[in-house]
Point group: C2
Chain length 351, copies 2
């Protein structure tokens, strides 16, 4: 009864459409103890203060990670980090994690212990207790599902909704490095190529690490949330071009980004060029950066940027401005020309 | 790096040994906000009152469910129910669920909507809000990972530890029906056989429903927890023989069960005999019943049994007694002879 010939496979509709269809099946009547359910980075729960946060994310071998280019420790770290990043996106503190493992029976015990060491490294670094889990047999491949539970003070909660016209758009760290790391890793799997020639071994390793072992921006998020001046926030997991669209949609605003202001490191630019991609493409559509993107009133931006940089050493860049919804979503190219910024916007810059 | 030739596959060690090994990799230093972590049905979290509960469980096609014999709605219900049962086992109330879906790209959208309808049916029945989730591609088969978060009042929390010598062992509902349902379903997959001949179509359906659509005992658990007289509790998911062992181990006690007192329905007995299995085997080692097993002082048992039955209509049976650890774990056969009760204890009764 479960797998009839498929008249309408999920592959034919986008992820967001699929989520919207499933959402319609669910009961959407409001509950006072569910401040935000499906539709933000994490659920916001409870009736007290602090509020509770809960999020789940899967790492599937061959889909979200490539087992030949990730160590078991890095895999454990990454499975935790992508969830911790979702807690950071709300301005929250991560507290607990549950790990659901799906494993082929031939999985090596010592390999699995190394995965757990990576899980514990991330947990220790960010103050998270591993409080439960489940182990199930899956014949074909390894999957790690991690649920992270955290807290956020009511006054510090940041959502995708809340951006105001005139706010500046800020991004922590740098963009495109995760995508550049994936380029290097893929080329390595296929054998030596242009990136191998253009970059040194340590440069390649630096980029691959950005892909396999992302840094969740929890300390930065804590400062941004405590400042009281940020108006909206999310983490950049799919690519800035797509993710800033969530803020626009849920805040009812538009955005104009400045391509010359995007924090793209020289190494990422060199990797992009060597790989035949544009640096803008990697920065806007690459995903896997797990940086924070947030909005703040222009007058409050300098102090907030300084506070984050002073406390964490992480640079923060102003990459654009919130505009009226009627102005749409665009990015100024370096010739001063605006181009529509949609999820595929980067294709305009390709080649 | 991740799948070298395997010197020590996880298939060669038991699930509990594997969990113990992974547990040793994790930081076990105590935290005041983690009352119970790995090792009970759910994690017990927080510093306030009520405490928070969190649990995760996976349903893998071909491992935990058989897609040819379960409707999509039943699958959704089952994925929720096994987790709700873990919340019930602590005496808690279920509040929120997150659904991580792993799906082949050819999965039918309408099929998936039906799964979600089953999820929502269970959520509505037990007052749970679906607050988040994740959808990932998995080429080979469907997996549903469900995380349920709940609450329990501090004074009502029930653990596996706490059983006292002289306490009676009680079980809700009946045992062995889930395992009998699996027997019927498996025979149906293989073509008609002895069970098809011995049982009517509606009898077979009754049993299969017990397997595919278990009933989490949340209302019963609420009454047991509120009574203040229960000393330990868990849900029977692996089989009473193995599960009562967890109470014994964590409470530092032994147990003597009475085989003639086990609540095995006549239909389950008939299915067992037709399938060439002993009813005791199905009741003790079958699993999939999701009944509650709990301990209570003998003087308090009658009132508690009456309270559960009056409020929910669910029968409660006295199936044994807690004894000193030195007396071990045993079951009295109907000839009055005690037999050691280990996870394989039922093998003594087979044939």
């Amino acid at each position: 009864m479960t797998h009839p010939p498929t008249p309408h496979p999920i592959a034919n509709i986008g992820e967001f459409d699929l989520i919207a269809r499933l959402h319609r099946v669910l009961d959407s009547s409001p509950r006072c103890d569910v401040l935000h359910g499906i539709g933000d980075d994490t659920a916001v729960l409870g009736t007290g203060d602090p509020l509770w946060l809960a999020t789940v994310d899967s790492q599937v071998d061959g889909v979200h990670f490539l087992s030949p280019i990730i160590t078991p420790e890095q895999l454990g770290w990454r499975a935790m980090a992508v969830n911790l990043s979702d807690i950071a996106a709300m301005g929250g503190q991560a507290l607990y994690a549950l790990i659901a493992l799906l494993l082929p029976p031939e999985t090596d015990v010592a390999w699995l212990e190394r995965v757990y060491r990576g899980v514990q490294q991330a947990a220790t670094q960010y103050g998270v207790a591993i409080v439960g889990g489940n182990i199930s047999r899956l014949p074909e491949r390894v999957v790690l599902d991690v649920t992270v539970i955290g807290q956020v003070r009511r006054t510090q909660l940041l959502l995708r909704a809340g951006a105001q016209i005139g706010d500046l758009v800020l991004v922590t760290g740098e963009l495109g490095a995760g995508a550049a790391g994936l380029l290097v890793a893929r080329e390595h799997l296929d054998g030596a190529g242009a990136l191998h020639t253009a970059l040194s071994a340590s440069e390649r390793e630096t980029l691959v690490l950005r892909y396999v072992r992302p840094t969740p921006r929890l300390p930065e998020a804590a400062i941004i949330a405590a400042s009281g001046s940020a108006t909206a926030m999310l983490d950049v997991s799919d690519g800035l071009s797509s993710d800033i669209g969530h803020i626009c949609q849920q805040s009812g605003v538009g955005v104009q980004l400045d391509s010359t202001a995007l924090p793209i490191a020289p190494l990422t630019r060199r990797a992009a060029h060597a790989g035949g991609r544009s640096p803008l493409e990697l920065a806007l559509a690459g995903g896997d950066d797990y940086e924070l993107c947030f909005t703040v009133a222009a007058h409050a931006a300098p102090a907030l940027i300084a506070a984050v940089q002073d406390a964490t050493g992480t640079p923060v860049s102003i990459v654009g401005e919130i505009v009226p919804a009627a102005h749409g979503r665009s990015i100024l190219l370096d010739n001063g020309q605006p181009v529509a910024l949609d999820a595929r916007g980067w294709q305009h810059f390709q080649g």
